[in-house]
């Protein structure tokens, strides 16, 4: 226990706190707390009336227990009683308890408000301040209703003490933030503005926060504050460091107030009055001059306070964006900070320079620092600083330096932190497009992007490169050649296969003359990737194949053979199967002319703004990409697409944020190629969603880690599910509940596997049950589909659901020690045995929840295996009739980046892949 105990010191409380600190375990702590809670409860309930001191002590103990993180469900009444005590310390504890533990119990709020009202009218400044602090801390609507009228009066009354004014100003600010409708402007508003002139610096400091907030919402009513703020600022800036006595902080006069004044001025345009403007410019110049003076102290507090004002002044200069001289001076000052030994200053300089880069006056000055910034990107040890450097490079990029900046960003991407990769990819893609002079550079850049950071290349990015290649005929041959070369790499990213498939399908003919890239070579190259790809990519490749048949008749028989094979034409995926069947039929019955018409080259896409930009903007939140930049993107994007040259219809441009290429919306369809349009549009439809399936309801992914729940629900029907699994067998109970009062007749269900029939009739409000026995024969990735038909009233209802049967249901958990785990992990080292995904967290990264989900997955969660305790590793064996598939899993959360890396290794490649896909949707 510390020797110091100012004021009263409640001994009982100190003893209790010591006891808690001496507890050896969480259990012991909880036991001690429960004992104390029981004791306090009995005191509060006891017959003996407690004196104020005891009440205060117990309330304070409750507060302590609450702050330790335990729930408190009593004692509120006792705390409220303390409020009306006339002993200051009792009142104070009461208010503290209410401030920390407020709950919206209306009965209590009424009592609290009563006590506050009494204290506010007590004329005792200490009591008044306590009451105001409480309102400011709680800030509830009920309090605003009760006091929003009274507080402005206290604030501007002539006889109010300074300390009360300060509390009243910030109390009002809090109420205005929570319930702006209840704080009515009135006669007091003009008097509030004049608080900027108050003698007492503390009053000005408190009042300015209120005034700034009010000005942002009602600029006209408060615009007189501008000249008052300028003269106040001028007085502070020109004062000697001792003039302001205790408001001078480490030789800097009133740094907090100065920053606030500069912030307030940023709510307004530059002052119109020449004298005021002159005075302000003088202030800003003085602040810039002071930055060059030798420091008055070596303490970091001195330089922080001084620079805080400097950065705020620079913000104001950027906000005005009208004084070229000041802008360039600001830029030079920030340039000095870029190489400062304080990381904080380097960070802030990079951040602040980003906004300077967007001003026409300082853009060139910012550009002179390019080498320093590139160096920061390469050498800064703190990822948040590197992030700022990347932002600044992006902001200072223009035609003159685009190639250098893009190259630097690409090389940085190779080693960049996971947390910033996705954003970097978007930025590179935008810059490459915006400043492309020759399109071969653009194509190279995007393909490099896919090669280096394929996992982070979103669909928007690769859609965009295809759109541009299709719209620019001068780059098509180059693009075909480049993708062909890129696809030669033994391991190339799936996104590369997508782009490659699409471009070769359209423009493969442009390189077919070279025997090294003859049609068959092209086809074999693409097809060699087919089996490693996911369903949507395979669907796209099938479309590329049918285009090949048109481009190169000599490939027809080879491709038909592929389409005819069981793995295509009987593929368990409906979409793939349908494509294989349709394309095979099309290629065998249509004449060359018809084929040529149907499979004609894609028409140019309608010209539109790049939605990559929209995506970046969405990711960074408003403000990250300036309006200025967006407009530029539109202008230059149009130039780049050149869609107009080829007759693209730009009048039908839909909203840019809807989707990037409008691939789904369909390109402008010329009369000659309607089916080609729709066929290829189809390529981009969501995997597995088929028009003839009316409903694919509840996301089946919800059931990956659990076995019971509601599978489907609409106004008529609810389907519940219960399932159990053992080895390779499972049993599933489906409960069909009729939510209406009318019976369902001719109720049938069909499964694409066999099921016992269900009762054909469900009475209104009743429920029937169906049992499905499941046997897992071999590993699989598609869930069985359940089709349900019934009549309700006269209408036939038809719906299709995916049954939540996933491969992981057949897991047998396997416990193993660390040594065994890593040995097996190493044994499964073939590239195809491993599947990995890096993805953003969709839910909170709560360890317990993660554990529960992993256990729900069915594997054994192994403790003390991974050297990093943050990581999770699991082991299990999937039991199928055909074979057993041993699987190991490792999940690495990165809390700072809110990302996960999931790695699955198993003896069968399809299993690794499927598990990885299933799990990636869970966290």
């Amino acid at each position: 226990m510390p020797a110091v105990s100012k004021g009263d010191g409640m001994r009982g409380l100190a003893v209790f706190i010591s006891d808690i600190r001496n507890c050896k375990s969480k259990e012991a702590e909880i036991k001690r707390i429960n004992k104390e809670l029981a004791n306090i409860r009995s005191k509060f309930k006891g017959d003996k009336a407690l004196d104020g001191y005891s009440k205060k002590k117990y309330v304070c103990k409750l507060l302590f227990i609450f702050l330790l993180g335990h729930d408190i469900d009593f004692g509120h009444m006792e705390a409220v009683n303390l409020l009306s005590s006339n002993k200051y310390t009792e009142k104070q504890i009461g208010y503290l308890f209410i401030s920390v533990l407020v709950n919206s119990n209306s009965e209590l709020i009424r009592l609290i408000n009563n006590a506050i009202k009494n204290d506010l009218s007590s004329r005792n400044p200490t009591f008044m301040c306590l009451a105001l602090h409480c309102i400011a801390n709680v800030g509830s609507r009920e309090m605003a209703e009760a006091f929003a009228g009274e507080i402005p009066r206290i604030l501007v009354a002539g006889d109010t003490m300074d300390s009360v004014k300060q509390s009243a100003a910030l109390c009002l600010l809090r109420l205005y933030k929570t319930s702006p409708d209840l704080v009515l402007m009135g006669e007091w508003t003009s008097r509030v503005v004049h608080l900027l002139n108050d003698q007492h610096m503390g009053v000005v400091t408190a009042a300015i926060s209120l005034i700034t907030c009010l000005s942002q919402k009602n600029p006209d009513e408060f615009k007189t504050c501008v000249s008052l703020a300028v003269s106040r600022l001028s007085r502070i800036v020109s004062s000697a460091s001792t003039d302001l006595q205790d408001y001078t902080y480490y030789f800097v006069p009133a740094p907090w107030l100065s920053c606030k004044l500069l912030r307030l001025l940023q709510c307004y345009p530059p002052p119109e009055d020449g004298a005021v403007k002159g005075r302000l410019v003088e202030c800003l110049e003085t602040i810039l001059n002071k930055a060059q003076e030798p420091p008055k102290s070596k303490k970091v507090q001195h330089s922080n306070a001084k620079n805080a004002i400097l950065f705020e002044a620079i913000s104001l200069i950027i906000h005005y964006d009208s004084e070229p001289n000041l802008l360039v001076r600001a830029c030079n000052q920030l340039g000095q900070f870029l190489q400062h030994r304080e990381t904080n200053l380097r960070y802030l300089a990079l951040e602040s320079m980003c906004t300077l880069a967007s001003s026409e006056f300082s853009h060139e000055a910012v550009k002179t620092h390019i080498e320093t910034v590139i160096n920061a990107l390469k050498t800064e040890r703190d990822v948040s600083v590197r992030q700022r450097a990347a932002d600044l490079l992006y902001a200072m990029c223009d035609r003159s330096n685009a190639k250098q900046i893009v190259a630097e960003m690409l090389s940085y991407l190779e080693t960049a932190d996971y947390s910033i990769r996705e954003e970097m990819v978007l930025k590179v893609a935008i810059l490459a497009e915006k400043y492309a002079v020759d399109y071969s550079w653009y194509v190279d850049t995007i393909l490099n992007l896919i090669r280096i950071a394929g996992d982070y290349v979103s669909e928007e990015v690769w859609y965009r490169v295809i759109q541009i290649v299709i719209n620019r005929d001068d780059v098509q041959g180059y693009a075909a050649k480049t993708v062909f070369e890129a696809l030669q790499a033994p391991a190339c990213h799936e996104n590369m296969v997508k782009v490659g498939g699409y471009i070769l399908g359209e423009f493969g003919n442009l390189i077919a003359g070279d025997p090294r890239s003859s049609p068959l070579v092209q086809f074999n190259l693409l097809h060699s990737k087919f089996h490693l790809c996911s369903v949507p990519t395979r669907a796209l490749l099938l479309s590329a194949y049918i285009k090949f048949i048109n481009l190169f008749p000599e490939t027809k028989s080879t491709i038909q053979e592929v389409l005819r094979s069981d793995s295509q034409i009987r593929n368990s995926d409906v979409e793939l199967q349908q494509r294989a069947v349709e394309y095979l039929k099309l290629s065998s019955i249509a004449s060359t002319d018809v084929l040529a018409t149907v499979l004609e080259e894609m028409p140019p896409f309608p010209e539109r703004e790049s939605s990559i930009l929209a995506k970046l903007k969405k990711k960074k939140g408003p403000g990250a990409v300036s309006v200025n930049e967006l407009e530029e993107g539109k202008r230059e994007g149009g130039e780049l697409n050149g869609g107009g040259e080829r007759g693209g219809d730009s009048s039908s441009t839909p909203s840019p944020s809807a989707d990037l290429l409008g691939l789904r919306a369909g390109p402008p369809v010329t009369a000659a190629a309607p089916s080609a349009g729709s066929l290829l549009v189809d390529v981009f439809s969501e995997a597995g969603v088929n028009d003839d399936v009316p409903f694919l309801a509840v996301p089946a992914c919800l059931f990956v880690c659990k076995n019971n729940g509601v599978l489907f629900e609409n106004q008529l029907l609810q389907i519940g599910i219960k399932s159990e699994y053992r080895q390779n067998l499972g049993r599933m109970y489906l409960f069909y509940g009729n939510k209406t009062s009318v019976q369902f007749v001719t109720f049938t269900t069909t499964l694409n596997v066999q099921a016992k029939p269900v009762e054909p009739l469900i009475e209104g409000g009743a429920q029937v049950q169906q049992v499905i026995n499941i046997e897992c024969l071999t590993d699989f990735s598609d869930a069985p589909l359940l089709n349900i038909k019934f009549r309700y009233g006269g209408a036939l209802q038809n719906l299709t659901l995916k049954l939540p049967v996933t491969i992981n249901k057949f897991f047998q958990p396997t416990e193993m020690a660390s040594h065994d785990f890593f040995q097996r992990w190493k044994q499964l080292s073939l590239p195809q045995q491993e599947a990995q995904k890096i993805f953003k967290a969709n839910h909170a990264m709560d360890t317990e929840v993660l554990k529960a989900k992993l256990l729900g997955l069915g594997m054994a969660l192994l403790e003390n295996v991974d050297p990093n305790p943050e990581n999770f590793v699991c082991a299990g064996v999937i039991q199928t009739k055909a074979q057993q598939v041993g699987s190991l899993l490792r999940l690495e959360p990165n809390a700072q980046a809110q990302m996960y890396r999931l790695t699955v290794r198993s003896s069968k490649d399809t299993v690794s892949k499927r598990l990885c896909e299933l799990l990636a949707e869970q966290f």
């Binding site: 809090r174 926060s209 205790d246 408001y247 380097r346």
Partner: protein, 157 residues
Amino acid sequence: MQFMLLFSRQGKLRLQKWYVPLSDTQKKKISREVIQIVLARKPKMCSFLEWRDLKIVYKRYASLYFCCAVEDQENELITLEIIHRYVELLDKYFGSVCELDIIFNFEKAYYILDEFILGGEAQETSKKNVLKAIEQADMLQEEAETPRSVLEEIGLT
């Protein structure tokens, strides 16, 4: 400012002040998250980081981290000095403050903070004036208190 947290190197929360309305569950979740992020940072890293749409400004004093979450347009350096001024106030009041002072006299730490910052904004930046207010309050309570026996204190009478 949206909230201020004081926590130890072991991640134990010593003081929490919220200037925006949040539920207890949200508060717990946010504190956990922020503490985890800040504790994971290495000594030489910069004192600012982006978190959700806010900025976290933090500084370590001995065993205790002081951490503020401010809105995007707030000034980072001045927030850093808000933290320092609060530390100075605690130090002056307790006389070379240490973590234990804040544990055992947590209510004082809250009172001092309320005098300095209210509703998330600086109310009084003069060290003298803040301490004067607190000392006046202490005077009030000393007048009111009468000494008590130890046994009575620990509830044995």
